[in-house]
Symmetry: C2
Subunit: 247 residues, 2 copies
C-alpha cells in the first residue's frame, strides 16, 4: 500500500540530535520513503537551522507550529510527532487498515511519547532553561522514581500488550510505527540507563525480542549503519549520566 508522493517529504528537526525527530526518521526509513532532512542540508542550499527557524516562526500559511519535528508533505505542514506518524502510518502500511487498529496504534504512540517525556525529565526535572548541572539533586530524585516505578510500569504494560496480541507486534500482525518507536525508546534507554534496562529487560522478554527484531529489519539495519543515524549524545532526550542509572 505504499504510495509515492509527487515530491519528497521534507523533515525539519534539529540537525545534531536524534530527539523526537528520530521517530519520524525511523518511520520514513522503514517506509523507504524519499525525504530531505532539511536542517542537515547546507545553509547555502536553503537548509540548516535558519530554514527550520524561519518555518517555525511564520508557518508559511499553515497554522503556526509550536516546536519541531515538522513535516512538509506537498502543501501540508504537519507538527507534533504523533500527528506526523498518524499521517504517515496509513500512507505507508505502517499501521493496520482497520479503524480500531489505526486508533490503537495512535494511542500506543502517545503512551510512548509520555514515557519519552518522563525520561527527558530525569535530567531536566526543574527547567529546560537550566543545564543539567544546575538541577542535579532534583534529577537524582526524579531518576529514582523513574527507575523504581515508572519505567517498570511502562515496560510491563508493553509486554502485556504484546502478550495479548500476536506476541511480536504491538498491534496487528505486521510492523507498525508504534513498534519502531518502542524500538527507539529501548535503544535510547540502553544508551542512557544501561544498568536499569538490563535489570528490567529480563522481566519483559517480548519487549526485548521486539527490539532485536526491529534492529534486524533490512531498511532499519541499513539506516542504523549509515551516517544518517546521528549517534546518541548528551544534548538529546536520552543522555548517559551514570549517576542517574540507578539500576
Amino acid at each position: 500500500m505504499t504510495e509515492t508522493t509527487a515530491s519528497p517529504y521534507e523533515l525539519f528537526y534539529w540537525p545534531t540530535i536524534q530527539g523526537r525527530g528520530e521517530f519520524i526518521r525511523l518511520a520514513l526509513e522503514e517506509a523507504g520513503a524519499e525525504y530531505v532532512d532539511v536542517a542537515r542540508q547546507p545553509k547555502e542550499t536553503g537548509g540548516g537551522v535558519p530554514r527550520l527557524m524561519q518555518l517555525l516562526h511564520d508557518g508559511e500559511g499553515s497554522v503556526l507550529p509550536f516546536a519541531p519535528p515538522l513535516l512538509k508533505s506537498g502543501s501540508l505542514l504537519l507538527s507534533q510527532t504523533s500527528v506526523i506518524l498518524a499521517y504517515l502510518g496509513p500512507r505507508h502500511g505502517l499501521c493496520p487498515d482497520s479503524e480500531a487498529g489505526r486508533l490503537a496504534t495512535q494511542a500506543l504512540q502517545l503512551t510512548l511519547s509520555d514515557l519519552v517525556s518522563e525520561v527527558h525529565d530525569t535530567h531536566h526535572p526543574v527547567s529546560t532553561q537550566l543545564y543539567y548541572e544546575d538541577q542535579k539533586p532534583e534529577a537524582a530524585r526524579r531518576a529514582r522514581a523513574l527507575v523504581d516505578h515508572r519505567l517498570p510500569k511502562f515496560l510491563r504494560y508493553f509486554e502485556r500488550v504484546l502478550e495479548q496480541g500476536d506476541g511480536e507486534h504491538l498491534v496487528g500482525t505486521a510492523t507498525t510505527y508504534a513498534d519502531l518507536s518502542l524500538f527507539q525508546v529501548l535503544e535510547g534507554l540502553a544508551y542512557a540507563l544501561p544498568n536499569t534496562l538490563s535489570r528490567i529487560e529480563h522481566e519483559v522478554p517480548r519487549v526485548a525480542a521486539l527490539r532485536e527484531r526491529v534492529a534486524q529489519r533490512p531498511r532499519i539495519g541499513r539506516y542504523l549503519a549509515s551516517e544518517r543515524r546521528i549517534p546518541f549524545n548528551e544534548n538529546g532526550i536520552f543522555r548517559h549520566y551514570p549517576e542517574l542509572d540507578l539500576g
Copy 2:
C-alpha cells in the same frame, strides 16, 4: 454534521476530578452527544471505579489501554485524550473538514496536552508516587520555571495562532475541540495560579477573549452550571497551592 450513534458513548474516567477526562466531557457536551460517565454511576448498576479498573485491566478484546480517559463508541475502545478528541472532532463538527485543518487541530491539542503535563509537574516534579508535601522544594523551583518561561511561551504561542487566524478560533472559523481545550486550560490556570494568569493575560488579549466566549456558549454554559461539572480540587491536575502562584 452531527451524527447520531446507535448507543450512547461511554466515558471512563476518575469520578471525582476534572483531570484529562474533562477535555472529553467538554467536547461531548458541546456536541450535545449522549454519553454515560460510567465511573460516576453507582457500582450497583455496573458503574463506579471498579468498572473502570476492570476495563483498564483487560481491554475487553481491544488493545490494552495504558490509562484513563477511555471512550467506548460501539465496539471501539479508544484511549489517550488526543486520540479520543481526534475521533470525536469530525463526527460532531468540532474540527474543520479539510485534512489540513483536521491535522492542525490535532497538533494544537497535543501542544495543549504538553502544557497540561507541565502544569501538573509543578506540584509533582519528582514523582506521582509521592505527595506534593514530599516534593515542595522541587515544586517551588519547577513552578518558577513555568511561571517565568514556559507558561508565557505557550500562551504567547496561542495568541499568535489566533492572530494569524480569524482572531477568534485557533483553526478555521468555528469552534473546535482545541478551542474548548484551551478554555479548559485557562479555567484551570485561573483556579491554580490566579496571580500568574492575571499577570500574563493582559499580554494575550485574544486568548483571554476566547476563554470568555467559550464559557458563554449555550451548551458549555449549561454544563458548567450543572452538577456534571466537578469543581476543581487538590486531587486533579490544576491545584491551588498559593506558594506556587509566583505571579
